[in-house]
């Protein structure tokens, strides 16, 4: 952990060397996800409700997913850019060091500019938290925090799988985008609006609904089932298969030789 903090401070220092460039990228990131927000805004003002969720409820869901995704991307960027690491032989260097490979990949990159997205998510939260009509008792606050933490973990798990698949293909697989970027884009709305089948898929195969949909129902008072509040914890288990795929990948690894 101390070592990771050390890595973090180095990354922060190095990115702060180019301050103007850094701030511009942050603003860019902010505006990028702003167009997604505009999409929701115009759709919800036209239709008022979708699947009986109101605008401010959808915003709550949108902000939770956006926070989780941007945190996961901020810290898990090393996995996202992993194909480059295999391509240029960087991973060979990692393997000879006496530390866990996964730790080193995790620490190899930190994308601070993702703060732009985070800022936007927080602004949306600032609007949606009072507007959603939720009475913010302790259990609701805990639910929201669990949703976000679990979201970070599930998205990071997806980044790990994405990276692990690079061991077999040496290139990033575009198809994984449907779960990472797609999870962000389609997670703007509660997953039930896509229908029963999709909801099941995102519950049992890719557990996005565990942190996005079920606890969300509890949060807005659509369900009293306290089990729903704790479902995000099950999302943590998702890391086990992710880690297994990673391990298989490492064993399978052949250097590209460059």
């Amino acid at each position: 952990m101390r070592l990771y903090l050390k890595y973090l401070s180095i990354h922060i220092k190095s990115q702060m060397q180019y301050k103007v460039s850094f701030y511009l990228t942050v603003i860019g990131q902010f505006l990028t996800s702003f167009s997604a927000f505009l999409g929701i805004y115009f759709m919800m003002t036209r239709f008022n409700k979708v699947d009986n969720f109101s605008f401010s409820e959808v915003l709550l869901c949108f902000a939770a997913v956006l926070i989780a995704f941007s945190l996961a991307e901020c810290f898990g960027r090393g996995f996202d850019a992993f194909s480059g690491m295999i391509g240029n032989g960087e991973f060979d260097r990692i393997m000879v060091r006496p530390r866990n490979e996964m730790f080193q990949v995790l620490a190899s990159k930190l994308e601070l500019s993702r703060i732009g997205r985070l800022v936007q998510a927080i602004i949306v939260f600032a609007y949606a938290i009072p507007a959603s009509g939720v009475v913010w008792s302790a259990d609701k606050i805990i639910t929201l925090i669990l949703m976000i933490i679990s979201g970070v973990i599930v998205f990071s798990g997806l980044f790990v799988i994405y990276a692990a698949l690079c061991f077999f293909t040496t290139e990033g697989l575009e198809f994984m985008n449907i779960f990472t970027d797609g999870g962000r884009e389609f997670g703007r709305y509660p997953l039930s609006i896509y229908g029963e089948g999709i909801l099941k898929f995102f519950t049992f195969v890719i557990p996005l609904a565990l942190f996005q949909y079920y606890p969300f129902l509890y949060l807005i008072g659509r369900s009293d089932n306290t089990l729903y509040m704790l479902l995000p914890l099950i999302g943590f288990i998702f890391l086990i298969p992710c880690y297994a795929i990673w391990k298989i990948g490492v064993r399978h690894y052949k250097s590209t030789g460059s």
């Binding site: 180019y18 103007v20 460039s21 701030y23 511009l24 990228t25 942050v26 603003i27 860019g28 990131q29 902010f30 505006l31 990028t32 996800s33 702003f34 167009s35 997604a36 505009l38 999409g39 115009f42 759709m43 003002t45 036209r46 239709f47 008022n48 409700k49 979708v50 699947d51 290139e171 697989l173 575009e174 198809f175 985008n177 449907i178 797609g182 389609f186 709305y189 609006i193 896509y194 229908g195 999709i198």
Partner: protein, 267 residues
């Protein structure tokens, strides 16, 4: 003319080599389109009366959008050009007896066309076999289809002409990434890539439809399904031709000005 044609051919053939990447892309685009349609379906079920176009028009819009994504996405830019500008390799390009604007333009056209050619057919075929109203429907008649093809080509030109302005702007900016992503994401929204323009409130939509961005994917995709027809269609096409000419003119004048000032640092 001949030299630009051969640039075009080289790029096209080059682009057609990446078939495995294309298969992965097809699967992604298909899943993406499917999810989009389910999302709009939920809104349709929420309030069908507020739906601004027929549902089958929307599904055609989305499948065509996914099939021809490579033609229309404004953020799909040629990194070679950016690195040529920032690394100074552009000096070599300048010493050749070619027009830089025309060369970049044809290169971009070829890259986009090759990408789209590999991807569009499988998506369109599968979408055609999906049950109504989730699949793609045939256009009303042959005339509509030919107008669709023509406006799609013009839309492609418009997109590339717009991207040229972004390349040229790089001459003036040292760290263009932030502004670029911001501008492009707004462009995406205005061109109807995130939600089709009819879903905007009327007063906003009317303004957006005057901008060059509405001449990109918005126009051909809506002509295909008959959402834009008659006099509105003629008006939109003239606007499209106008914006295309403007963008090309601005680009050509601007690159001339930029190249006069360009200082290639040695090394």
């Amino acid at each position: 003319m001949k030299k630009y044609l051969s640039f075009f051919r080289i790029r096209l053939i080059n682009g057609l080599q990446y078939r495995t990447a294309a298969y992965a892309g097809i699967a992604t685009q298909f899943a993406w389109g499917f999810m989009e349609i389910l999302m709009f379906n939920a809104f349709y079920n929420a309030d069908a009366a507020a739906f601004p176009m027929e549902f089958s028009q929307l599904t055609s819009y989305i499948w065509l959008q996914q099939a021809f994504l490579a033609l229309f996405m404004t953020w799909f830019l040629d990194d070679e050009i950016f690195s040529a500008i920032s690394s100074g390799n552009i000096a070599y390009e300048l010493s050749r007896p070619i027009d830089l604007y025309t060369m970049w333009f044809t290169k971009n056209l070829a890259i986009r066309l090759s990408k789209a050619a590999l991807r569009c057919m499988p998506i369109l075929i599968v979408a055609a076999f999906l049950p109504r109203p989730y699949g793609i429907v045939l256009p009303a008649n042959f005339l509509v289809f030919s107008v669709f093809l023509i406006t799609m080509l013009l839309a492609l030109f418009t997109v590339v002409a717009f991207c040229m302005l972004i390349y040229i702007a790089t001459f003036y900016m040292l760290s263009p990434l932030g502004i670029r992503t911001a501008a492009l994401s707004l462009t995406e929204f205005l061109s109807g890539a995130i939600i089709p323009l009819p879903f905007l409130p009327d007063n906003v939509r009317k303004i957006v439809e005057f901008t060059p961005f509405a001449s990109m994917q918005n126009l051909p995709l809506r002509i295909y399904s008959g959402n834009i027809a008659g006099s509105e269609m003629l008006w939109s096409i003239s606007l499209q031709v106008f914006w295309l000419t403007m963008l090309v003119l601005i680009g050509k004048l601007w690159i001339k000005k930029a190249l006069k000032k360009v200082v290639v640092q040695g090394g």
